[in-house]
C-alpha cells in the first residue's frame, strides 16, 4: 500500500518534472559543459579549453561594462518602479472620481508588448521632432537633444522606459494587498490620533512587506531579463553604453555565433541570479512574515 502511494507521488510530479528538466535543468547543465569548450564551427569541431573561456571573460572589458551597466540598470529601475507602484496603488485605492479610468491608465503600459512600447518611446526620444524635443523646445526653447545617441544618457533613457513599463504591473500586486488590509486597523489608529504618515509607515507599509518581497524578487529578475526594448532603442550602443548582460549574451551567441563563449557568459548570469535569489530568500524572508 505504501509502495503504491510512492508511485502515485512520482506520477503526479512527472509532467512538471519532464518540462522542468527539458527546459531548465538539462539546458543549464549543457550550458555549463559547453562553457569549457571552444565554439564548434563546421570546419573545426569543439575542443576542450578548460577555463580559457572564463579567463577570457574576466579579461573582456565589454563583459565588465555590461555587468556594471546591469548594476546601474537594477539600481535605477527597482527602487523607483517599486516606489512608484506603491504611490500609484495608494492613489487609486482611495475613493476618487474616475478611479477605474486612472487604474486602467496606470496598467496600460503593462498590457503593451515591450517591443511596441520601445517603438513608441523611440519616437518620444527622436532628436528634433520627437515628442520630448517638441515639448522642451516649445516650453523652454531648448535645443534638440540626443538621449539615445549619447553614451552618458543612453542607459538612463532605457531605464526610464523600463520603469514606465514595470510600475503599473507592480501596482496591481500592491492594490490587491492594500485591499486585503482590514480597515479596522486604520480606524483604530485614527481613534488613537495617528496621522496619515504614521498610519502608512507603521501599519500599511509593514503589512505590505510580503508583497514588497514578491515584487522586489520579480524586479530583480526583470532587471536581468528585460532586454527586448534595447534591440529597438539603442541596439546596445553607443559603444555598449546601454548593453546589458543578457543582451550581450544574445549578441555573442546569435549575432557573433560564438556559442562557446556565450555559454560561459550564461553561466556567469546563472551564478549571479542564484546568489541573488538565495540572498533575497534567506535574509529578506526573515523580516517579512510576522503576522
Amino acid at each position: 500500500m505504501i509502495k503504491r502511494e510512492w508511485i502515485y507521488g512520482w506520477l503526479l510530479l512527472l509532467p512538471a518534472m519532464v518540462f522542468l528538466f527539458a527546459f531548465t535543468h538539462i539546458p543549464a547543465i549543457t550550458t555549463l559543459i559547453n562553457s569549457f569548450y571552444s565554439t564548434p564551427r563546421g570546419r573545426r569541431p569543439a575542443k576542450f579549453l578548460g577555463v580559457d573561456n572564463y579567463e577570457r571573460m574576466l579579461a573582456d572589458p565589454v563583459f565588465w561594462k555590461v555587468l556594471w551597466n546591469n548594476l546601474w540598470f537594477a539600481i535605477g529601475t527597482i527602487p523607483v518602479s517599486v516606489g512608484l507602484a506603491i504611490l500609484m496603488a495608494l492613489w487609486v485605492n482611495d475613493r476618487l472620481a474616475g478611479r477605474g479610468f486612472v487604474r486602467m491608465a496606470y496598467f496600460t503600459p503593462t498590457v503593451l508588448p515591450l517591443i511596441a512600447v520601445a517603438n513608441i518611446w523611440l519616437f518620444f526620444y527622436t532628436p528634433g521632432f520627437g515628442l520630448f524635443d517638441q515639448i522642451t523646445g516649445f516650453l523652454f526653447g531648448w535645443s534638440a537633444s540626443n538621449y539615445l545617441g549619447n553614451p552618458e544618457t543612453a542607459l538612463n533613457a532605457v531605464i526610464v522606459v523600463t520603469v514606465w513599463k514595470e510600475a503599473g504591473f507592480f501596482m496591481i500586486f500592491y492594490l490587491a494587498a492594500l485591499q486585503a488590509i482590514p480597515v479596522s486597523l486604520k480606524e483604530a489608529a485614527q481613534i488613537e490620533g495617528a496621522g496619515r504618515w504614521i498610519i502608512f509607515w507603521r501599519i500599511t507599509f509593514p503589512l505590505l512587506m510580503p508583497t514588497t518581497l514578491f515584487v522586489s524578487v520579480n524586479a530583480v529578475i526583470n532587471s536581468f531579463r528585460l532586454v527586448d526594448h534595447i534591440f529597438i532603442l539603442t541596439d546596445g550602443g553607443p559603444d555598449n553604453a546601454s548593453s546589458l548582460l543578457l543582451f550581450y549574451i544574445y549578441e555573442t551567441a546569435f549575432r557573433f555565433w560564438e556559442t562557446g563563449y556565450a555559454a560561459t557568459l550564461t553561466v556567469a548570469l546563472l551564478v549571479l541570479l542564484s546568489l541573488l535569489a538565495i540572498g533575497q530568500f534567506f535574509f529578506f524572508d526573515r523580516k517579512v512574515h510576522y503576522k
Binding site: 564551427r41 563546421g42 570546419r43 565589454v62 523611440l122 527622436t126 532628436p127 528634433g128 521632432f129 523646445g137 526653447g141 531648448w142 535645443s143 534638440a144 540626443n146 539615445l148 545617441g149 549619447n150 553614451p151 539603442t234 541596439d235 550602443g237 553607443p238 559603444d239 555598449n240 553604453a241 549578441e251 546569435f254 549575432r255 557573433f256 555565433w257 560564438e258
Partner: protein, 427 residues
C-alpha cells in the same frame, strides 16, 4: 475482359502516379529576408509562383524569414538541425561565416558550360567582390544596394546655392553644409547641413568615407583588416569633425530609421542613405530633391550592401541544379527589372538596364541611374571570417569616436588589435 480492364486501370494509375511524381520531382525550400519597406515580400512570392507555374517539375517553397539577422540565424540553426534550406538570400558579407560553418557550396560545380561562365561574368564587378573568394563563387547578387547622397533642392536655393549641384568633394560638403546649417534666435540649430546616420551599423556608411580616402577595410581573403590605417583614421576624423569642428551635422549617434523622416521634415538639407530608400523619398518628400554620388576625397567611392543567393549544403545534385536554374531565372532581365522597380535595389546585371521596361522607368525617374553609375567606383563591403563579431568591434570603435569617448586613432587602433586577435587563426 475483366482482366484487361483491370490491367488498363493499373496502367492508368501507374501513369498518373508517374506524372504526379515528375510534377513534384524537385522540392526546394528558399529563405528570404525583407529589409526595406514596400512590396518586397509580395514581389518575391509572385516571382516564385510565376516560376513554378512555368516549370511544373519544380516546387519552390519561398519562406519569409524576417530581417537579414533573423534569416542567417534561421538558416544556420536549420542547417545544424539537419534540415537546411536549399537556397537562401543572406547578406553578402556573411559569406565567410557561412564558409567557416561549412554550410554552403560554391555555384561553380553547377555552372560548368561556357555559357554559364559568361552568365557569371554578366554581373557588375563591384557586386561580385563580396561574392567570390579563392576563385570560387559562393554568392549570386540579388538584392543589392549602395549608399547615395540625397539633397533638398529648396533648402539649397534658400541658402543661395545652386539647387542642381550637389557637393562633389569632402571640402565642398563642409562648405555647403555651413551655408545650409540654420540657427534660430536663441542659437539652436533648426536645420543641419548633412546627416550621416550612425546607429547600429555605422561601419556601412563609414566605408564610403574610407574608400573615398583610398583605403579598403579588409582583404579579399577575409582574414586581415586595415582599421588603423592612417587613411582610415583620417576618414574617421573627418566624420567626427563634421559635428565637432565644422558643426554641420548633429552631434552623437544619429538614428538610421529616423533619417528619411528628418530629411522630409527639413531637419537636414542633405542625407547619406541607401538607394533602398529611393522610392520612399520620391513618394514622401514634400519638396524637390536630388540624388548624387557620395563626394570624393582622393577618389569617388562607396561600399555595396545587401543580399546574395547562397546554395546550401545537404541538397541533392538535382535539387542544387534546380536551385541554380531558379537563380538564373530570377536574376534575368525581365524579373530583375520588376524587382528593382518594386524596391529600389540596384539591378545587378547591366543587361537589365537595357530592357524596355527599365528604360521607361528610368526616363520617368532618372535618379535611379545614380546608384548604377556609382557602381564603377564601388568596392567590396567589409567582410571577414567571424564577420559579425569583427564588424561589431569596428562599430563599437566608430561609436566611441563619434561620441567623443575615444580619439579616432585610439579607437581604431584598439579595434585593429581585437580584430587581429580573432583573425590570426584564419591566416
Amino acid at each position: 475482359m475483366l482482366k484487361s480492364s483491370f490491367l488498363k486501370a493499373v496502367a492508368a494509375t501507374a501513369l498518373t502516379v508517374s506524372t504526379w511524381a515528375s510534377a513534384h520531382a524537385v522540392d526546394l525550400q528558399f529563405y528570404f529576408p525583407v529589409a526595406v519597406g514596400g512590396s518586397a515580400a509580395e514581389t518575391i512570392q509572385e516571382l516564385t509562383a510565376e516560376y513554378v507555374a512555368q516549370n511544373p517539375d519544380v516546387n519552390i517553397d519561398a519562406v519569409y524569414a524576417g530581417s537579414y539577422q533573423d534569416t542567417v540565424a534561421k538558416a544556420i540553426t536549420a542547417s545544424r538541425g539537419g534540415n537546411p534550406p536549399q537556397l537562401s538570400v543572406i547578406l553578402s558579407v556573411d559569406m565567410f561565416t557561412l564558409i567557416d560553418e561549412d554550410l554552403i557550396v560554391s555555384f561553380d560545380d553547377y555552372l560548368t558550360s561556357e555559357e554559364d561562365k559568361e552568365w557569371l561574368n554578366g554581373f557588375y564587378q563591384a557586386f561580385m567582390e563580396n561574392s567570390q573568394t579563392d576563385g570560387k563563387t559562393y554568392g549570386i547578387p540579388f538584392q543589392r544596394s549602395t549608399p547615395v547622397l540625397y539633397w533638398n533642392k529648396e533648402a539649397f536655393k534658400e541658402a543661395g546655392l545652386d539647387p542642381d549641384v550637389a557637393p562633389a568633394t569632402w571640402d565642398e560638403m563642409v562648405e555647403f553644409g555651413k551655408k545650409l546649417t540654420k540657427k534660430d534666435d536663441s542659437g539652436n540649430v533648426t536645420q543641419w547641413g548633412v546627416r550621416i546616420p550612425s546607429s547600429g551599423f555605422p561601419y556601412w556608411l563609414f566605408q564610403g568615407l574610407a574608400i573615398e580616402n583610398g583605403v579598403i577595410l579588409a582583404n579579399s581573403e577575409g582574414n586581415q583588416t586595415n582599421f588603423d590605417d592612417p587613411k582610415a583614421v583620417e576618414a574617421l576624423q573627418y566624420l567626427v569633425d563634421l559635428s565637432t569642428k565644422y558643426e554641420v551635422m548633429a552631434p552623437g549617434i544619429i538614428e538610421w530609421g529616423a533619417t528619411p523622416k528628418a530629411f522630409f521634415e527639413g531637419q537636414t538639407a542633405m542625407m547619406w542613405t541607401s538607394t533602398g530608400n529611393l522610392t520612399n523619398v520620391r513618394d514622401n518628400a514634400p519638396f524637390e530633391f536630388g540624388v548624387a554620388m557620395l563626394p570624393e576625397k582622393v577618389q569617388r567611392g562607396a561600399p555595396t550592401g545587401g543580399g546574395n543567393f547562397y546554395l546550401f549544403k545537404g541538397g541533392s545534385d538535382e535539387q542544387n541544379q534546380a536551385a541554380v536554374d531558379f537563380v538564373k531565372w530570377i536574376t534575368a532581365p525581365e524579373q530583375s527589372a520588376k524587382w528593382t522597380m518594386a524596391t529600389g535595389y540596384v539591378a545587378p546585371r547591366p543587361e537589365t538596364w537595357e530592357t524596355e521596361t527599365m528604360k521607361q522607368y528610368v526616363e520617368g525617374f532618372p535618379a535611379v541611374l545614380v546608384a548604377r553609375d556609382q557602381l564603377q567606383y564601388a568596392k567590396a563591403e567589409l567582410s571577414t571570417y567571424q564577420n559579425q563579431r569583427v564588424t561589431g568591434i569596428f562599430n563599437d570603435a566608430l561609436a566611441a569616436a563619434i561620441t567623443g569617448t575615444k580619439t579616432p586613432e585610439e579607437a581604431l587602433k584598439e579595434a585593429q588589435q581585437q580584430a587581429d586577435a580573432i583573425l590570426t587563426e584564419y591566416r
